[in-house]
Chain length 343, copies 2
DNA sequence: ACGATCGGATAAACCGCTTTACTAAAGCGG
DNA sequence: CCGCTTTAGTAAAGCGGTTTATCCGATCGT
């Protein structure tokens, strides 16, 4: 009934446990005949080395963990996560690693970290001075940060959020928009300030707006979902201060904004221009197709995995330069309407 | 430098390893004073039990594996996967479990299974007689099948694929379409036949078509991506046999079909009606909004996780009834055009 | 005052595998 | 035919926890 162990194979084949282990891990150290026999017996018995035992004695589990700051159901509602995993996945498959998703356990990310049997961690959106990272360092697990701030203790993989946001705002300003709104990402965990990513994007938006001689608007916060975008639209200023253009920090929310606007009787882009951030795969297929800032998410995942794997091999901690972002102009933005509030 | 172990804590606190272990796992068995002291020392030293060691001796890892038949990058390109993980995630968080993604290792799913340290598996789209499942049973890991065929050895979670497909086809037929095309899902792994899911959906389409007194069309195969949908459109019959309606087994491919059609100068739905399958979250926001068969993917994940957790607790293997599917009519389908190719 | 009971703590076995010596036999040059 | 290196295989010591069985001294009932 119980699982077949290395000892079972050993005695069935009339050899020592060592021989069986060698048969799998260093076949060269066994005579041809014995090798065949051991392998045969092992196969017949359906033997598979116990992964935990293996991990314990080899001090490596063949798994890397993805540290997820929120609930799985929230994070995977955002296609961003899918893209990222595609990137991580490529490298994992290349190096025969599996991917463990580690959300807060029982509310605590720290405790989740402690329970995870992994060779390294990829952390998403955590500030470099987050408590969770201290725990990680305490245990001594190599870690790479994605969407964080510069750190001297961990490699960080980022994109040029600020530049992208700046381009987005400049785009709207160039189209003559003077009344802008900003929809900002919520803090990753309750009672925290903006995520590093949100902070940088906000800075980019504001820099462009101020350079155009206008006061930066007070941002509205919205989660990363269509529904959140709808709510965000509803809390936008109305009347005199109604914006003609909205800068949204995620494509998901941008779709919500577009939809809510239409429901409210506005046309996109004629009455309201919307620009998102991410360029998710389906943003090209929305109605209208979304103007947005493209960030190379898959590449971000690849890069982070590559850095982590290097780090697990003992390499240093030099962060790569931020990956480029580019504005993708589609059909959700147009010149500020002459009929708009402006006149 | 090296990780701090239970022995370190024990000697630092002047107690036995047993006491330290008890402090964490059965606090009641320790005197109040010692408990406090041990916990204090453990915290100061930054001690965390080694997960692999723990898994080995407790015979449980606190992880469930998701068996992924293809490459991660391929599977996560489909939002279906995100939805499913949301469902699985809910239950995992409820039970303090983490989720391990297990794609084929080095090309072999079997070998990936052997290396994964998990308490149970959720298998996606694998036929009940797949070799991989034999390995699983050999090792004796509880497993739940999603999108498979009825099995007497494993619980299976399915939706009413056939019914949904039937409804989709009936919808088009009811709109007067007489020239239909079918875009079918590719086999999960090379050199295999259709997945159980594809087979059932095909049966549903065909049943409706035959009931209407028409010969079932020869299906075109397309992967689950917009690009694949575009290719599928291009291999549709032209001229006299050009379809006025297309039944697509995935929303992703359906979007590709719609787009390719428009590129080819056809209007959707006026010249071509398209109905998808899945009702992914963004299918409501495409241009035009997609008519599709809704399947409760998140619920599917929840259900599967629930069954697996039950099974890990030793419960039986009764599969639940297939979850319901419903046709969601949006704007990608309309009456068969009088102006279409037909005349 | 004495055996029974009990709370508090521990020694040692065990989980299943890897790996480092170490040994016995076989091959080899001289 | 003898010492010396290979070759083939093994015993045993980890890896870092959990858990069972046991021990010891203090309290309790009578």
């Amino acid at each position: 009934m119980s699982r077949v162990t290395i000892a079972d194979v050993a005695s069935a084949a009339g050899v020592s446990k060592t021989a069986v282990s060698f048969a799998f891990n260093s076949p060269g150290r066994l005579g041809h005949a014995t090798l065949e026999r051991v392998l045969g017996v092992a196969h017949d018995l359906g033997y598979a080395p116990h992964p935990a035992a293996r991990a314990l004695s080899m001090r490596r589990s063949g798994t890397i963990g993805v540290l997820i700051p929120q609930r799985l159901s929230a994070v995977f509602a955002n296609p961003f996560m899918s893209e990222l995993i595609q990137g991580l996945g490529e490298l994992c498959e290349e190096h025969d690693l599996t991917l463990l998703l580690v959300p807060p356990l029982d509310g605590s990310l720290e405790s989740a970290i402690r329970h995870a049997s992994v060779d390294g961690f990829i952390s998403l959106g955590l500030s470099p001075d987050d408590r969770a990272l201290e725990v990680l360092d305490g245990i001594g697990i190599p870690t790479v940060l994605i969407d964080s701030d510069e750190s001297s203790t961990h490699p960080v993989v980022n994109v040029d959020d600020r530049g992208g946001a700046h381009a987005a705002a400049s785009h709207l300003l160039g189209l003559g928009h003077r009344q802008l709104a900003i929809v900002v990402l919520p803090p990753a965990r309750a009672q925290m300030s903006y995520t590093p990513t949100a902070t940088r994007r906000l800075a980019g938006y504001n820099a462009a707006i101020e350079a155009a001689g206008m006061p930066p608007p007070r941002p509205v916060t919205a989660g990363i979902s269509v529904a959140a975008g709808i709510r965000a639209f509803e809390s936008l200023p109305v009347g005199k201060r109604r914006p003609t253009g909205v800068l949204v920090m995620s494509d998901m929310a941008a779709i919500g904004v577009m939809n809510a606007a239409r429901t409210a009787g506005m046309r996109v882009p004629d009455d309201l221009s919307v620009v998102g951030f991410d360029d998710l795969p389906f943003s090209a297929w929305t109605n209208p197709p979304l103007t947005t800032v493209r960030q190379p998410i898959v590449e971000k995942g690849r890069m982070a995995a590559r850095m982590l794997i290097d780090r697990m091999k003992g390499k240093g901690i030099d962060s790569p330069a931020p990956l480029g972002t580019t504005l993708v102009v589609r059909a959700s933005t147009s010149e500020s309407g002459k009929l708009g509030f402006a006149n």
